[in-house]
Symmetry: C2
Subunit: 385 residues, 2 copies
């Protein structure tokens, strides 16, 4: 299989946009991505669309041909990938497969979600359908409740504190405040995070990611053609997807996600790199506890040590390993199906040294981790200059 | 890219099964597929799941890890593909890509849908979401209505008659009556078809496919490993997916499906075959008119001549080119997400000469055509002994 590069990116701002439809968002991100490389729609050979729940959020199935024809792509294979919150990470993994295989040269990957058109209770219900229907969903478990159980167990097992969780929120909000595309551009203090209303003990409002609308896109080409489209191609060194059981009750240990560990192992092996070689990362902080667990599952810190590491500044913009320089799902926003590709766009900006006030000093390699549900899907991607 | 074979198949009967869940159906088909080749779940390297609307029909998203862990597959990439009624044809296309690329050796493709748990009006509404939301769906257009418009225009343009449509139904019911797994095992007469209650003029009840529950599975391996798993491997000679606009109103001509023609062209080119080389076919007869159009789009007969061809016996079991020897969506049933893979299972049975009373005399090459919506996705696969 041949080397693959990300040649262009495009994204919308994330937010609550009463006047923007799912289609409008997807087309905006896709068009920006093509425009960045001056690429005619007719040159694109396939569309890989990540979307979690368009049929439930806006009533439209069969989204991929809808977006493809809207972009002016002609007769190309156009497919929707659904893997809960890892939908567009999964779409990217499959697009990479096809380009690496030599099936296509130019492939567009779009992630999109339009969530704010539904009332909050319905949003919660739609999100919960990514949990296990037979046990969790029917019993009324929502994702804040599930991640609260994970956080409680993690605190019990490793002595982590609410301050450790809040430190993730404070860091990500500080980063997001510097990101013009972020949903909630507001720095917060540790005191504010701790004093926020409790959503599901021990998670306060600032431990939870946002319900957002948005879209993001990347264009892939074989590495040896990348220079045709950009002066700053970003290489895909490794990418892998893995799975695990849906229900928390079926897992041996809810403080680690085997799907993320397996995807990480494979992606590191493909890249020929280890955790120490990664300069910065975008991790799936759907809840603050998820960022701590991801740091450990990916080998950035030993098990149980992520909380003190974040509190000590290890992962801030100027730290040893900056994490979620975009603001993360916490502050940038979490339009579910867009998140996986948006993480890649944000890494690409850093690796191109185009991240503006949130640019980190050393950005030669970056890792993105996209999580589905309470850990049943994990996608890990490693990019490099 | 290397040659790929289908080594084993597994399917459930199609029908209305009040006591069988989506998960139960998917696991049954998957387990039969593994059992046929005596394959341990741990040997399977990825799951490609085709499912149209599990979240709407049964309330469960994130279906692929749910099915993978139920089958005992460990940590493998597990992804759901949604392309309306072509969901599992699309899943198969992407699974083929990965095996042909050398990413995996053993890949399981499962298609599944559980439809009868919803009342008919809700089923109609869920299916309609594969049409264009902005125009068709909001205007109240259902799929019977859309295919009725297509049929009416086709009759106007080519002088086709209701008898031509009914001839498709009569043939497919005759075939389905011989298929132990078919939903409606009942031969009908031309008079019965014509006298059936009108659903959407000119389509009667016998012009419409069935609302069914069911699942189907195939296992792929590189051709050079196929003998490890079966004495009768079936080669994948060609497979392609293509797209078109969703809304009928946006198409130049509603009596032909460009996505099917494009996928057919690519699949024929990959196989190095033409329409005349195909011994038998499974075509996507969601409505009788769709089978006539598919025959023309795939070059089996010239434009406008499919109706008289079917009426003359061209496509019956003993005809020149047997079509839908399984009974088709019309009689075998149409659990939407299962259909694309089920078509492949039925072709494999014929190519293995294991189709029992519906076995055709000459079955060295077979073609399957899977359609999404009113033509916005087309997948064409060519198999051979």
């Amino acid at each position: 299989m041949r080397p693959v590069s990300i040649v262009t990116i495009g994204k919308t701002a994330f937010g609550a946009f009463a006047d923007r439809s799912l289609l409008d968002l997807a087309l905006d991100a896709g068009r920006k991505c093509l425009k960045e490389g001056n690429i005619a729609p007719a040159a694109v050979e396939a569309l890989y669309l990540g979307n979690f729940a368009g049929p439930s959020f806006v009533g439209q199935s069969h989204l991929a041909p809808w977006v493809a024809s809207g972009l002016g792509l002609s007769e190309v294979p156009a497919t929707r990938f659904e893997a809960a919150c890892a939908s567009s990470g999964s779409a990217f993994f499959h697009a990479w497969t096809a380009v690496a295989a030599g099936l296509y040269d130019l492939v567009l990957v779009v992630g999109v979600e339009k969530m704010t058109s539904q009332p909050p209770a319905r949003v919660t219900e739609i999100l919960a359908s990514a949990g296990d229907l037979g046990s969790e969903v029917r019993a009324g478990a929502t994702f804040p409740a599930m991640f609260a159980m994970i956080a409680r167990r993690y605190m019990h097992q490793f002595g982590a504190t609410r301050e450790h969780l809040a430190a993730v929120a404070v860091k990500n909000h500080a980063n997001g405040a510097l990101n013009p595309d972020a949903h909630l551009r507001k720095a917060i203090t540790l005191e504010q995070a701790l004093a926020a209303p409790m959503i599901a003990d021990p998670l306060t409002r600032y431990d939870c990611s946002l319900v957002s609308d948005g879209a993001a896109a990347v264009l892939l080409s074989p590495a040896d053609r990348a220079a045709e489209f950009t002066a700053k191609p970003i290489r895909v060194l490794g990418v892998a997807q893995a799975s695990d059981r849906l229900a928390l009750a079926d897992k041996d240990d809810i403080t680690t996600f085997p799907a993320v560990r397996a995807a990480g192992r494979k992606a590191y092996a493909m890249a020929g790199l280890g955790p120490g070689d990664i300069d910065l990362a975008e991790l799936h902080d759907c809840f603050t506890i998820a960022e701590l667990i991801a740091m450990e599952d990916l080998g950035f810190v030993p098990r149980g040590e992520a909380g003190p590491a974040v509190a000590s500044g290890f992962s801030r913009l100027t730290g040893e390993k900056p994490i979620n320089t975009s603001g993360g799902l916490k502050s940038k926003g979490h339009p579910v199906g867009a998140t996986g590709v948006a993480q890649l766009c944000d890494l690409v900006l850093q690796l191109r040294c185009e991240a503006g006030p949130r640019q980190v000093a050393r950005a030669r390699t970056g890792l993105a981790q996209n999580l589905g549900g309470s850990g049943a899907t994990g996608v890990v991607t490693i990019l490099a200059q």
